[in-house]
C-alpha cells in the first residue's frame, strides 16, 4: 500500500505534475477524515452502549433487589408456617422455645434471637431462649433488661412491639435496645398468653445491609402470638394433666379406703355369720328337746291333758316349728355366705322345676283362685344349678307372690335367654312394695310394713336367702315394683355351656 503510494508520489514529482500531487493529497486527506468520522461514530456508539449498560446494571440491580425481597418474604412465610405448626403441636413449655432455631430465624431474615418471660414471684425477666448469642453477650443483655425492666413491662402491659424502623417518638428507646442486644436491625414483639407469665421475643441482625419492613415486623408479631398461644395451650394441658393426676390420686386413695372398709366389712360379716351359725346350732338342741317333750305330752303318753293345756302345748309345738324353720334359714344363709355350702350344679330343666313348685302350691293357688301364666322360652329351658337350692328360690319367690296376690289375681312366670344366662321373671298382681322400703327388702329380718305381713307371720329371711343362693350361682337378682300394681322379681342363672 505504502509502496504504491510512494511510487505514485515519485511519478508525480518525476512527472512534474504538481496538480496530480495536489489531487492525490486531497484524496488522502478525505480518506483520513472519513476514518476519523468513523472512529468518532464508533466511539460515540461505544459510549452510548456504555450508557445503556449503566441503565441495564441499574435496572438489573433494582430487579435483583426486588427478587431478593420477594424470596426473603416467601422464605419467611414458609418458615413462619412451619414454625407455627411445630410450635402449636408442642405441649411442653420448654419445648416450645426449643422449636425456634437458627435455620428458621435465617429464613425469617434474622441472625440472633432471645426470649424473656416475666416471673412475678421473682420480679425479674427470665431467659427462655437464645440463638447465636455468646454467654457473655447474654449476661450483658440480662443486665440491660434488669435496668430497663419498667420499659419492657410497659411494652407487655400495652402489648406493644417495637422495631428498629425509625419513629421519632422511639429514637432513644431504639438506640438503647440496639446497644443492649448488639443488633442494629431488630424487632421486639410481646408474648401474651391469656394466663401466667408474659414476656417478649427479640429478633435481630448485625447485618446493616438487611432492611426490615413493616411486613417483617408483622411476621415476628404473628410468631410471638403463636408462641403465646402455644404457651397457653401447654399451661392448660399441664393444668388439666395435674388435675387428672390429682383425681387419679384421689381415686386411688378412695379405692384403698374402700378396700380397707370392705375387708373390715367382710371380717364383721364373717363374725356375724359365725355368731349366727353357732347361736343357731346352740338353739337347735334345746329346741329339739322342747319340741320332743311337747310332742310326747301332746301324744298324751304321760296321761290325758286338759284341753287348755293341750291348746297351749300345740302352740308351743307350732312356735317351735317356726323357730326351727327360721334357724334353718339362718344357718343356710350363714353357710352360703361363708362358702361352706358346695353347690352341686347340674343341667336342669327350668320348666319341670317351675311345674313342680306350682304343684306344691296348687292348694293355695286354688284357695285364692289365682291364675298362673307361664311364658317359658324354648331356648331358656335349661339352667346349670343346684336342684335343691334353686327349688328353695322358686318356693320362696312363688310363695311370696301367692302371699301378696289378692284372690282371683294373676301370677306370670317368664323365662328369657340371655347370652350365657337364663332370666326368670315372677310377676304378681299384688299390693307392691312402697318406694321407701324398696331398698331394704333383701336385708335379713326385714319385712315390708303392710296389712298382709301383719296378718301372715314370716321370718324376713326368705328374700335374703334367695339372694344368697342366686349370687352363689353367679347370678343377679332385682325387682320392679309399684304400689298397688304388683311386683316383678327377676333373677338370672347360668345356662349350661354348649
Amino acid at each position: 500500500m505504502f509502496a504504491t503510494e510512494f511510487l505514485l508520489y515519485l511519478a508525480c514529482i518525476l512527472g512534474g505534475g504538481i496538480s496530480v500531487f495536489i489531487v492525490m493529497w486531497s484524496w488522502k486527506l478525505e480518506r483520513l477524515n472519513q476514518a476519523h468520522a468513523e472512529i468518532k461514530t464508533l466511539r460515540r456508539s461505544l459510549d452510548e452502549m456504555d450508557e445503556q449498560a449503566k441503565l441495564i446494571v441499574r435496572t438489573d440491580m433494582e430487579l435483583n433487589r426486588t427478587q431478593e425481597e420477594l424470596d426473603k418474604k416467601i422464605s419467611g412465610l414458609y418458615a413462619l408456617h412451619n414454625l407455627s405448626q411445630a410450635v402449636s403441636t408442642t405441649l411442653e413449655e420448654k419445648q416450645i422455645f426449643n422449636m425456634v432455631d437458627s435455620a428458621y430465624l435465617q429464613d425469617l431474615g434474622f441472625q440472633k434471637a432471645c426470649a424473656f418471660l416475666w416471673q412475678t414471684n421473682e420480679e425479674k425477666f427470665v431467659l427462655k431462649m437464645q440463638i447465636e448469642y455468646f454467654p457473655d453477650e447474654i449476661e450483658k443483655i440480662k443486665k440491660a433488661i434488669e435496668l430497663d425492666k419498667t420499659f419492657y413491662l410497659e411494652l407487655i402491659k400495652h402489648n406493644r412491639g417495637i422495631s428498629s424502623i425509625y419513629r421519632e417518638e422511639n429514637t432513644q428507646a431504639i438506640e438503647k435496645i440496639k446497644h443492649a442486644f448488639g443488633c442494629r436491625i431488630f424487632v421486639i414483639s410481646c408474648i401474651m398468653p391469656k394466663e401466667g407469665e408474659k414476656g417478649f421475643l427479640f429478633v435481630g441482625t448485625e447485618d446493616t445491609d438487611t432492611a426490615i419492613t413493616e411486613g417483617d415486623q408483622e411476621l415476628i408479631t404473628i410468631l410471638a402470638n403463636q408462641i403465646g398461644q402455644a404457651l397457653e395451650n401447654a399451661r392448660l394441658f399441664e393444668k388439666t394433666w395435674l388435675a387428672h393426676q390429682e383425681l387419679e390420686q384421689k381415686v386411688k386413695e378412695r379405692t384403698r379406703e374402700l378396700t380397707v372398709a370392705l375387708e373390715e366389712l367382710k371380717i364383721a360379716s364373717k363374725r356375724k355369720t359365725d355368731f349366727v351359725s353357732s347361736v343357731s346350732h346352740e338353739l337347735r338342741t334345746p329346741l329339739t328337746s322342747i319340741k320332743g317333750y311337747a310332742s310326747i305330752l301332746l301324744a298324751e303318753k304321760l296321761g290325758q291333758l286338759p284341753p287348755e293345756v293341750k291348746e297351749r302345748l300345740e302352740k308351743i309345738n307350732r312356735h317351735s316349728d317356726e323357730l326351727t324353720h327360721m334357724i334353718n334359714d339362718l344357718l343356710d344363709i350363714a353357710h352360703i355366705e361363708s362358702g361352706k355350702i358346695i353347690m352341686k350344679r347340674q343341667s336342669l330343666e327350668l320348666k319341670s322345676i317351675i311345674e313342680k313348685i306350682l304343684d306344691l302350691f296348687s292348694l293355695q293357688l286354688k284357695e285364692k283362685q289365682i291364675s298362673v301364666r307361664l311364658n317359658i322360652a324354648d331356648l331358656a329351658q335349661n339352667i346349670f344349678a343346684d336342684t335343691s337350692q334353686i327349688e328353695r328360690v322358686f318356693i320362696n319367690l312363688v310363695g311370696n307372690a301367692i302371699k301378696f296376690t289378692p284372690p282371683q289375681g294373676e301370677i306370670t312366670i317368664t323365662t328369657k335367654k340371655l347370652d350365657d344366662q337364663a332370666q326368670v321373671d315372677i310377676a304378681d298382681s299384688g299390693c307392691g312394695i312402697p318406694e321407701e322400703e324398696q331398698g331394704h327388702i333383701f336385708e335379713e329380718f326385714y319385712r315390708v310394713d303392710n296389712a298382709i305381713n301383719q296378718q301372715v307371720k314370716g321370718s324376713g329371711l326368705g328374700l335374703s336367702l334367695v339372694k344368697q343362693i342366686v349370687q352363689a350361682h353367679g347370678g343377679k337378682i332385682w325387682f320392679k315394683s309399684k304400689e298397688s300394681q304388683g311386683t316383678t322379681l327377676s333373677f338370672t342363672l347360668p345356662r349350661p355351656s354348649q
Binding site: 456504555d50 449498560a53 449503566k54 441495564i56 441499574r58 438489573d60 440491580m61 435455620a103 435465617q106 445491609d209
Partner: protein
C-alpha cells in the same frame, strides 16, 4: 503413601484386557440435619457406612454448615471410622445429591481400588507464616507422602478468610508444578465472615489449609464455569498492586462502580456485599474467558480491594449474570467433566456463595441439573465457598491454577 500391592501389575493387566471388569471406586454418602453436632455426626456416618457395601473405608470427605462446626463433630466421626483419613471444610451450605443442607453435615466414604493412591496433609498458622510459604509447606507435605508414584491431582481446602488465597496456591504450585492440576475451595461460614474451618482428621482448623494429593491411576474430569457476561466498554487497570486496584482508565477505581451503579461512594460502601455478589469485574483472558474478581473492600481513596490478584495493565469489564446464565454455566461445567469421565463414581462440587445468593430459591434447580447429568444414585458432595481454585483453560495460561470467584467447579472422578 497408601497400599502398594505385589498384585498391582497383574490386576492392571487383567483390567486392561477386560475393561468392563475394572475395579471401581466405591462411594457412599450419609447426611444429617440434626441440630446437635454429635447426633448429626453419628447419623451421617452411620448412614454412609450403611450405604457402603464394603466394610473397608480408605478416605472420608466431610462437609458441614458452620453451626455444626464444633470439635465433637469430627471426634464423633473419626471415632466411628477409627484410622480412616478425613478431610473437608465448612460451608454456608452443604451440597449433596440428597439436597442442599443449610444446616447439616455430609460424609462421603470412599473405598478405593489398589491402583489409586493418596496422601493428605495440612498447614497451620497461614497468616503468621505468610500464605506463600504456607502453600509451599503444604505442597512439600503432600509430596512427601506420595513418592515414586505418578501424581494426578490435588484438592485443597483453605480458610476462606485468609487474605491472599492466591499466594497460597502459588506456594503450592512452587512445589507441585506450575501446571499441575489443582482444585480447591475456600471454606465459608453463614455469610458473617467471622470464622471458617477446614477439617483434617479429627482437627477442626482455622487460619489453615488441608489438601489431598492423588496418584496412581486416578481418572478425573474437571469443569469450571461462572456464567457471568461482560457489559459496557472494556477498561484498563492503570495502577494496581496484587489485589488492590488504585486506578482504572486513570480514574480512582471506585469511580467505575459509582458510574455504572449510579451510587455515590458512601452508598457503594454500604451496599458492597450486594454489589460484589452480582457485579464482579472480569479480567479478559482469551476469547470469551474472563477471570472474575469480587470486591472485598472499598478504601477511602477509592481503591478497590479484590479477592484475588488483578495485574496492572489488565483489560477488565464489568460482569453481569442472570439465573439462566448461571444455570447454563453449570451445564457447561458438567459437559466439560463428561469429556474425560463417562461413568463417574462420585463428584466433588465447589460452588460460589455468590451463585447461591443470585439463584436464591432456584438453587435447587442447579442441584437437579447436576443430578440429571449423572447416573442416578451417583453420590456428590461439596460446599458453597468464598472462592474456588481451578486451572484456567486459556492456552497462554498453560493450565495454571488460579483463584476464582462466582464459579461452580465440578470434579468428577470415575471411568
Amino acid at each position: 503413601m497408601t497400599r502398594l500391592s505385589k498384585y498391582t501389575n497383574i490386576l492392571l493387566i487383567f483390567q486392561a484386557t477386560y475393561p468392563s471388569l475394572r475395579v471401581k471406586i466405591k462411594a457412599s454418602i450419609g447426611v444429617s440435619r440434626e441440630k446437635d453436632c454429635t447426633q448429626a455426626a453419628k447419623e451421617a456416618i452411620n448412614q454412609a457406612k450403611a450405604n457402603m457395601p464394603y466394610k473397608k473405608f480408605d478416605l472420608a470427605f466431610v462437609f458441614a454448615s458452620i453451626d455444626l462446626c464444633y470439635p465433637s463433630l469430627l471426634k464423633t466421626i473419626t471415632a466411628e471410622l477409627e484410622h480412616v483419613p478425613l478431610i473437608g471444610a465448612s460451608g454456608a451450605a452443604v451440597i449433596t445429591n440428597l439436597g442442599i443442607l443449610r444446616h447439616g453435615v455430609a460424609v462421603l466414604l470412599l473405598n478405593l481400588p489398589e491402583k489409586i493412591f493418596f496422601n493428605i496433609g495440612c498447614v497451620r498458622d497461614i497468616n503468621t507464616k505468610t500464605p506463600l510459604s504456607a502453600g509451599e509447606e503444604l505442597g512439600a507435605k503432600l509430596l512427601y507422602g506420595l513418592k515414586n508414584v505418578s501424581r494426578d491431582l490435588g484438592v485443597v481446602f483453605s480458610d476462606g478468610l485468609i487474605k491472599d488465597n492466591h499466594a497460597l496456591m502459588r506456594g503450592l504450585q512452587e512445589k507441585l508444578g506450575a501446571s499441575f492440576p489443582l482444585v480447591g475451595a475456600s471454606a465459608s461460614d453463614n455469610l458473617r465472615f467471622l470464622k471458617t474451618c477446614v477439617f483434617f482428621n479429627q482437627e477442626m482448623l482455622s487460619d489453615a489449609a488441608a489438601g489431598i494429593l492423588w496418584g496412581g491411576k486416578l481418572n478425573f474430569g474437571l469443569g469450571t464455569r461462572h456464567g457471568w457476561k461482560p457489559l459496557g466498554k472494556p477498561r484498563m487497570v492503570t495502577k494496581s498492586y496484587n489485589n488492590a486496584v488504585y486506578t482504572i482508565d486513570g480514574l480512582p477505581a471506585a469511580k467505575v462502580y459509582e458510574e455504572y451503579l449510579g451510587r455515590d461512594f458512601n452508598e457503594l460502601k454500604k451496599e458492597l456485599k450486594h454489589i460484589t455478589t452480582l457485579y464482579p469485574i472480569g479480567i479478559f483472558l482469551f476469547e470469551e474467558e474472563y477471570l472474575l474478581r469480587n470486591i472485598v473492600a472499598i478504601e477511602e481513596d477509592g481503591v478497590l480491594v479484590f479477592q484475588g490478584d488483578v495485574p496492572q495493565g489488565s483489560q477488565i469489564r464489568l460482569m453481569i449474570a442472570t439465573k439462566e446464565s448461571c444455570l447454563l454455566a453449570t451445564r457447561q461445567a458438567l459437559a466439560e467433566t463428561n469429556v474425560k469421565v463417562k461413568h463417574p463414581d462420585f463428584l466433588l462440587v465447589f460452588n460460589s456463595i455468590s451463585r447461591y445468593i443470585l439463584l436464591g430459591r432456584d438453587a435447587s434447580k442447579e442441584l437437579q441439573i447436576i443430578k440429571n447429568s449423572i447416573p442416578a444414585d451417583t453420590p456428590f458432595v461439596g460446599v458453597y465457598t468464598y472462592g474456588e481454585q481451578a486451572p484456567l483453560k486459556a492456552i497462554n495460561y498453560q493450565g495454571k491454577v488460579y483463584f476464582h470467584d462466582q464459579t461452580i467447579t465440578i470434579l468428577s472422578i470415575g471411568e
